[in-house]
Amino acid sequence: MRASIQWLRELTGLELNIDELAEKLTNIGLEVDVIERFEAVDKVVVGQVRSKEKHPDKDRLSIVTVFDGTEEIVVICGAPNVPEPGGHILFAQVGASLPLEEGGTMDIGERKIAGVVSRGMICSETELRIGTGSAGIFVFEDEPGLTEIPKPGTPLAEALPVGDVVFEIGLTPNRPDCLGHIGIARDIAAVMGHPFAPPAVKAPAKVAAGVTGVVPDGDMRVALEWEGESTATEVDASGLGPFAVEIDDAERCPRYGAAFVLGGQVGKSPFWLRYRLHVLGLRSRSNLVDATNLVMLETGHPLHGFDLETLRGRKIVVRTATEGEQMTTLDDEERTLGADDLLICDGEGPVAIAGVMGGEDSEIGDSTTHVAIECAYFDPRSIRRTSRRLGMHTDASHRFERGVDPNDVRYVLARTASLMAELGGGVALAEGLDAHPTPIERRKITLRVPRLDALLGFTVQRATAQACLERLGCDVKVDGDVLEVTAPSWRPDLAIEEDLIEEVVRVHGYEHVPALVPAIRPSRSGSPGPARFERQVKEQVAALGLYEAINHAFVAPGDLAKARAPEAVVKVVNPLSEERSVMRTSLLPGLATAAGHALRRQAPGAGLFEVGRTIHPRDGGELPEERDTLAIFLAGAAHGPDGNAWIGGERAYDFYDVKGFVEATVDALAGQLPAVVPTDDVPAWAHPRRVGAIELGGTKVGVVAELHPEVGEALGLEEHRGQYAELDLATLRETIEAAGVSRAPHLPKVPAVIRDMALLVDTEHTAGSVAEALADGGGELVESVTLFDRYEGKGVPEGKRSLAFRLVYRDPSATLTDKVVDKAHQKAANAAKARCGAELR
C-alpha cells in the first residue's frame, strides 16, 4: 500500500515528521518498507509562448520563443501541442536537472538541434515526474479547474501543488482498513493520542431536485448525507429509471449500494487529482474514473462506475455465474466463469465480475454522461476464490478479499457522487439505493482487564485500555473490570479478547512491554533422542574429512531413474518445474551430481556427505515415510593420511575408502566396528562385485558399494568411479541404544607375545576367512589377528596373493613361553592351510 504523507497530513490535521512517522507506523504493525520523495525540479518555471513556427526542414519540430519571466529564449520543441503565442507552459531553464525514471538525471544545457541553438526545454508531466502518460507538453490553458494562470517565471513548486512523500507500507493481510488513507490516518491519530474522524462529505454544487424517477420508492431508497448547500437542479432523467437492484446470492453479496450522477461530462481530471494518483502509482484515466479510484484510495473501499445508459433493463442483478458462462472484462480478455464466481449483471447478462473487474461494454467511456456508482460488500472468501482461479489480482479484489467495511457504503457513495459531480459538472441524485439483505453486525467482544496483565506481563490501567480502543473506533462500555467492546465494522480482524489486547498494546506501545526471563520447567515427556543423534552423526562425519551438502528434497524423476533409486515416489502435485517434481527416494543423485560438478571444475576429488530424508509413499492417505539417512559419496582423488594430504602420492578413492569412513563413523558412535558382509539384496545402483551390507551386531544398518559404472556415467561422473554408502539413522540409533554403552575393558597385566605370519593364498579366499582360520587354529591364546600387508604381483604366482598377519598371543593367567607360542602359531598356520590352502611364505 502506497500512502501519501500530504494526504495523511490533510486527514489527521497533524504535522507529521517523515522519519518519526515511518518509525511509528513500523512499530504499530504498518511496516514502512520504502520512503519515496517527490519534489519539484529546480529551475523549472512557468513560461509563456511568444512565438512559434515550424522548423524549415523537420516537420515535427517547432521553433518556439519562450518568455521565462526575464528574457525571451529560443527553444526547439518536438511536442504536437505547443500552444499558440500567449499560452503558458512549463519551461526547464539551462542548468535544470531532470530526474530520469530509470535513475540518473537529464541535464538541460545549450544544445544545437537540427541546426538551431536551443537553450532550455518545454516539458511534459512525465519529463518532470509530476505525472504519467501525458501525450505532449504541459499547457496551463488546457488544465481544468485552474482559475488563475501563474505569471511567467513562477517556479514549478509555486505554480502547481507538487511535492509529496510516499510510504510504501508492507501491509499484513489482517488490516484491510489501512488499504485506504482514512484507516492509516486513524491509526496515526490513535498512536499519537489525537481524536480522529473521517472528513465530512462536501455537498455537490448541484443536486437533482425531488424524485427523478431513477431511484424507485421502497426499502432500498436512501438519502445520501453531505454537508453544505447545493443548488437544486432539474435534470432530464427520462428513460434512465426506475433502477432496480436484485441480489440473488445474499451470502456472497450481503450489501449492494448505488448512487447516480447525471449529465456529467467525461474529461481530464484536474492536476491535483492526477498528481495524487500519480504519486500513489495509479494512472489518471478520466475525471469520472479517477473519482472512483481516489475514493478507493481514501476509504479503502473499491467502487465501480457504470455507464448507466449501457445497463440493459436499468437494473443490476447480483448472481453466481453458470458453469462456463463468458464475459469480456475491461482489460479486453474473454473470461470463462464457474458456478462459484459472483457476477454483476444487468437485465440481460454479466457486466462485471463482482469485486474483481468490470466489463468492457458498461465501463465509463468518453461519451458517458450518466453514471451509476456501485459500492458493495462481497464475501471475502468468494472474491478470493474467484480472483485466484482466474489469476486476476486487482486493486479491488485485493481489498475485497481482505474484507472492506460493509457499513461505510453510504458514506462512500455520497463522497463519490459528490466528487464526480464536482469533476464532471454533473448533477448528483440526492438519493441512492442500498440493498442490504444480510446486515453485518459489529462484533461485541468482552475484554476482562485482568487478562491484559495476564497475557502481557505488565499492568495496563483500565482507562488506558479504554482510551486505546476508543481511538481506534471501538465503542466501549465499562462494567467494573470488564470492558464491553463493540468493534468497528472496518476491523474484521477484531474478533476475540486477545485481538483487543493486541490493539491495546499496539496503541499503547510495544516498547512498554518489559523483558522478563521466566524459569523454564523441564518437561517430563522430553527426550534428546533423534535430534541429538543426528547431530553426533553429522559432526563425526565432518570431523573425519567430508563436506556436508544440503540438496533439494525434490528432484527430477529422471535423476532418480539415473540413480536407479526406488521407483515408488511421492509426487509434487503443483511443481515449479519438472526438475523438482518428485520427492527424493535416495540421496545419491544429489551427491553424485555435486561431486560430478566439483570434478569437472578441476577439484582433484570430492568427499561429500548429507544427512537428509528419503521419502517413500504409504497407502491409505497416510503421511509418507520419511527415512533419516546418512549418505557418503566419494569420487576422484583421495585425501587423507595415505592420500594426497602430504606432498606426493595421489590415488583415486576406492571401495575401501568409503568402507573406512563408514567404519570410523560407526565405531565412533557405537564403540564397535560394523561388519561389511556379502548381501543378496544388491541395490540396482551398486557394482555387483563391489558391494556389501553394513551390519552392526547382526542388524543391517546400511549398504556400502562402488557405484555401478553405468550409474556413475549416467550421473555425470565420467571416468571417475563413485563410492557410496547409505545408512538408515533410525535403525543405527536403535541398534546402538539396544546394545547399551560400552563396558570398561579388563586390562591384562601379563605381556603379550607378538608373531607375524606371511601366507600365500588363492585370491578366492577372503582375507577375513584366512584371519578367522588363524584365530580358530591358534586357539584360546590368540587375542587378535590383524592383516597388516597385502601384496599381489611380481614374485607372487598368478591367482594368488600374499597376506601378512600379526597374531597377538596372551594367556591372561601366566607369562607365555616361546615353546607354547610356537605350538599355537604352528596350529594357526595348519588351520589356514587346511581351510584356505594357505602356504607359509
Binding site: 493481510p173 468468494s382 481482505r402 497475557l455 511421492v570 503443483n574 606432498i647
Partner: protein
C-alpha cells in the same frame, strides 16, 4: 719361546696404550667413534687379538698381563663413553644452533571436513536455546494441510496464506487431509502440543518449502520454530527470553526492537528487529528483521486440547538460511543449495 710371547704381549699393550687415545679422539661422530673403538676392543680389535696370545705367555705373568689388559680395555671404554657424550652434546648443540626447519612444508594434516553453513547456524541456535532450557524436536517435512494451516488458525480462503504458496503432494486426502510440503516449522507446535502436556519448551529446526523461486527465494529453506507453554507465560516473558537469545547470539552491543505484526497463529503478534548499537561516534546500524513471534493464539491452544484460560505460551520462528547468510556474507540463497565444493569447504 714364552719370553718372546711375553715381550710381544707387552709390546702390543704398549702400542695399544699409545694408539687408542688419538684414535678415539680423532672420531667426530658416533659411527666413527664406534669404529675406532672396534679397532681396539671389537671382536677383531687389536686388544682382542692380543688377548688370544695370552695362552702362550708363561703362567706367572698371566695374572699381571691380564690385569693390565683389563685396565686398558676399561680405559678404552671410559674414553669411549666420555667421547660419546661429548659427541652427542656437540650434535645437540649443532641441532639447536643449526639451520631452521623448512616451516613452509605442509603439515601432515588429517584434513577435517566441514558442516554446511546452514547446519552450523542451526546448531549455534540450538545450543543457545538448549542452554536456556529448550529441547529439540524434529518433525516430518510432509504434513497435512490441517496441521500446516487449519489447526494453526489460518482462516480458509484468506490472503494470510499468500505468503505460504504451498506445494501439494500425492497420496493425501481432501481438505485438511491433503498432504503438503510444510510451509513453516510451526506445524511442530501442533504436533508436540497435541501429544504432550505443558510445561513444554521446544525448538524445532527443519526444512520448509514454498513455491517461490527467484533471486531472493529458494523453494526449500530452513526455519527454526520455538515455543514455550506453561501457566502464567506472558508477552514480557517472550521479550525477555528472545532478548537473552539475541544477546547470546549477537553479543550485548545490540538494540532490540519488538513491533506489532500479524501471524494467524499468534495474538498479539510481533516482529523482532535487531541492530548494532551506537558506540561512541559510530551510529547504530540498520535494523534487521530476525524473527516473527507472539503469544500462541487461543484457537491453537484449544485445537491441541489446552485450556487457554489455564495455560498460555509464546512462539517464535526464524529463517536459519538468512542468519547463515548474514553471518557469512553469503549474497545469494541459491549458493546454499548448489553444493559447490569450493563453497562448502569455505566455512
Amino acid at each position: 719361546m714364552s719370553d718372546e710371547a711375553l715381550e710381544k704381549f707387552r709390546a702390543g699393550l704398549a702400542t695399544i696404550e699409545g694408539e687408542y687415545q688419538p684414535a678415539l679422539e680423532a672420531a667426530t661422530n658416533e659411527n666413527a667413534l664406534r669404529e675406532a673403538r672396534a679397532k681396539f676392543t671389537g671382536p677383531q680389535g687389536a686388544l682382542t687379538e692380543l688377548m688370544k696370545g695370552m695362552k702362550d705367555v708363561p703362567g706367572k705373568h698371566r695374572r699381571e698381563l691380564g690385569q693390565a689388559s683389563n685396565a686398558l680395555k676399561n680405559a678404552v671404554q671410559a674414553l669411549f663413553d666420555a667421547r660419546l657424550e661429548a659427541i652427542e652434546k656437540e650434535a645437540l648443540r649443532a641441532e639447536l644452533e643449526g639451520p631452521m626447519l623448512d616451516l613452509t612444508l605442509p603439515g601432515r594434516r588429517p584434513m577435517p571436513g566441514r558442516l554446511h553453513p546452514v547446519t552450523r547456524a542451526e546448531y549455534d541456535l540450538l545450543d543457545i536455546f538448549g542452554s536456556m532450557g529448550f529441547e529439540t524436536a524434529r518433525g516430518p517435512e510432509i504434513d497435512t494441510f490441517g496441521r500446516c494451516f487449519s489447526q494453526l488458525g489460518f482462516p480458509p480462503d484468506h490472503p494470510a496464506t499468500d505468503e505460504h504458496d504451498t506445494f501439494y503432494v500425492s497420496g493425501g486426502g481432501e481438505g485438511d487431509e491433503a498432504h503438503v510440503l510444510r510451509t513453516h516449522t510451526s506445524t511442530m507446535q501442533i504436533r508436540e502440543m497435541s501429544r504432550r502436556e505443558p510445561p513444554l519448551a521446544v525448538v524445532s529446526p527443519g526444512k520448509v518449502f514454498r513455491r517461490d523461486d527467484d533471486a531472493t527465494h529458494s523453494p526449500m529453506f530452513h526455519q527454526l520454530e520455538g515455543f514455550l507453554v506453561d501457566e502464567g507465560i506472558t508477552m514480557a516473558h517472550l521479550q525477555g527470553m528472545l532478548t537473552v537469545f539475541l544477546e547470546r547470539f549477537f553479543g550485548t552491543a545490540i538494540d532490540v526492537r519488538f513491533r506489532a505484526s500479524y501471524f494467524p497463529f499468534v495474538e498479539p503478534g510481533a516482529e523482532l528487529d535487531v541492530r548494532r548499537a551506537a558506540q561512541g561516534d559510530e551510529p547504530a546500524g540498520p535494523w534487521m528483521e530476525i524473527l516473527g513471534c507472539g503469544m500462541i493464539h487461543p484457537t491453537v491452544l484449544r485445537n491441541v486440547g489446552y485450556d487457554p484460560e489455564k495455560v498460555s505460551g509464546f512462539a517464535f520462528g526464524m529463517g536459519v538460511d538468512r542468519i547463515a547468510m548474514v553471518r557469512h556474507a553469503i549474497p545469494n540463497i541459491k549458493a546454499l543449495y548448489d553444493n559447490d565444493v569450493r563453497f562448502l569447504s569455505a566455512f
